[in-house]
């Protein structure tokens, strides 16, 4: 069963991957350095498909795409947060890291709780308690269905986004 890694408010991209550790384009290296200073045990204990639950303004600050790359490469299945900073949210969708906005879950979940979710319906199950996350916008859905923004544009071009706008 996937477990929850719970974080607080205003988790910045500097906390997710500090500037001294994003001097690379190698996803695996970024994954190993994910939260290296903010939560040094993270990369060593996270298991495939675990879930991050964050507070408000998750991913604020720098536009560095290394941040969602690091989270994804560490094995995280999805990030659920009370709210996301705009650029992080868009970057995560673009590279195929599911992100779900859900306010109600935050106070009901503890670090380490069993968690499962369905990225298509936005339904999150925390140890038997169900929560409905907000559904992403139509462009995000189109990108998620294709896998990544690169996959979407490569196969269908801008028409794929123009037709949902």
């Amino acid at each position: 069963m996937a477990r929850t890694f719970k974080f607080g408010d205003a988790i910045s991209t500097d906390a997710i991957i500090p500037g001294r550790y994003n001097v690379t384009t190698d996803a695996a290296a970024l994954g190993k350095a994910c939260f290296i200073e903010a939560r040094p045990d993270f990369a060593g204990t996270v298991q495939k498909d675990d879930v991050i639950v964050g507070g408000r303004n998750f991913g604020c600050g720098s536009s560095r795409e290394h941040a969602p790359m690091a989270i994804k490469a560490a094995g995280i299945q999805a990030v659920v947060a009370r709210s996301f900073a705009r650029i992080f949210y868009r970057n995560a969708i673009n590279i195929g890291l599911p992100v779900i906005q859900c306010d109600a879950i935050y106070d009901a979940v503890e670090d380490g709780d069993p968690i499962s979710l369905d990225i298509h319906s936005g339904i999150i199950d925390v140890d038997g308690k169900m929560f409905q996350g907000e559904m992403p916008g139509p462009v995000a859905v189109a990108i998620m269905e294709a896998g990544t923004l690169i996959d979407l544009i490569k196969t269908r071009g801008w028409a794929a986004i123009e037709e949902v706008s």
Partner: protein
Amino acid sequence: MGTLTEEIFTRRLGREVHAGEIVVAPVDYAMAHDVTGPLAIEAFRKLDVPLWDPERVIMVFDHILPANTVASAGLHKIVRDFADEFGVTHVFQEGICHQLMVEKGFIRPGGIVVGADSHSTTYGALGCFAAGFGSTDIAVTFATGKTWFRVPETIRINLRGSLPPGIFPKDLALKVIRMLGAEGANYLAVEWGGEAVEAMSVDERLTLANLTVDFGGKAGLCEPDEHTRAYLGDAEVFDLHPVTPVYRSLIEVDAQMLEPQIACPPAIDNVQDLSAVAGTALDEVFVGSCANGRIEDLAIVAGYFKGRQVSPRTRTIVVPASKQIYMEALARGYIQTFMEAGALVMNAGCGPCLGRQHGVLGPGERALSTSNRNYAGRMGSAQAEIYLANPAVAAASALAGAIADPRGLN
């Protein structure tokens, strides 16, 4: 009809555009730098198409300049090889990307510009719609010359009255962030207006537009006016105003505030009056960045440093935002003043702001910076503390070796 943002998209797309619409729009330029560029280049190569327009892609080495490790030199090589292969000619290593975008003439009122850096909002000071993106979005723009936007609603911020002596645009921006919180403008555009903005130079407006992203703003715009014309030349500036705009909210702020504002660790919205933190000892003072590294900022600092010495217990680092600013500071004697005062003057670029090159903070150290980010770990150790302030506070604090009030110093 609409906000500055709606007016810009309406003109650009040739049809009436309203907030909330999702549009695919052409952009004037797409910028990336030495850290976000390599990821954008890798994503662009996956698309396996020609570059949209080699003259509309801007590459800047600024975050790590010159390269300080083998790894960062490797990033630079990825960018250089890409520029050579695709004929990209606008490749710069003479300052911060955002300052160069403005100085080199890529930014025009009514334009749409995207950058692979969050502080791309800076260009809104000239009435351009400019937003920060990640590398994959920029890669798609490299390939197509377009990106998609959800046209944002707008918060209008009117800064009333005039700035009293010792109070600067940085203080107004921090005051607004104090009021609205670090995500107060998330997904929204911000229009900066009112008498205080009308009286500001373009340099000062760049500070406001720059800090817009630090409370979540997608873009931060000022109406182009006679200051914009003086900066760019008449031919480049056409009339662009909000026309019967409908705002998400309207915020009024009195510029006649009492005190300089300080963003205290560890968050941009942990803002206090200067008097609440005065006397806090400092290990480093950094003057520079895309927020406050321009000639007017250096002039303020030089004014305080003239004939004085910075505290020997504090590293004082000055980094002009661009070569042009550096050379102007040389011509005006500021660089000599900084060095005589005991400050370290580094080459133009991002400097210590992002903790990846010179001026890194150690555990337990405390810095005051004129930049725009004070997250734990931003400038080095996660156990270091960062205070953000205007250039005059930075100057007085460097002299005192502790957070100090510049008002009263000549």
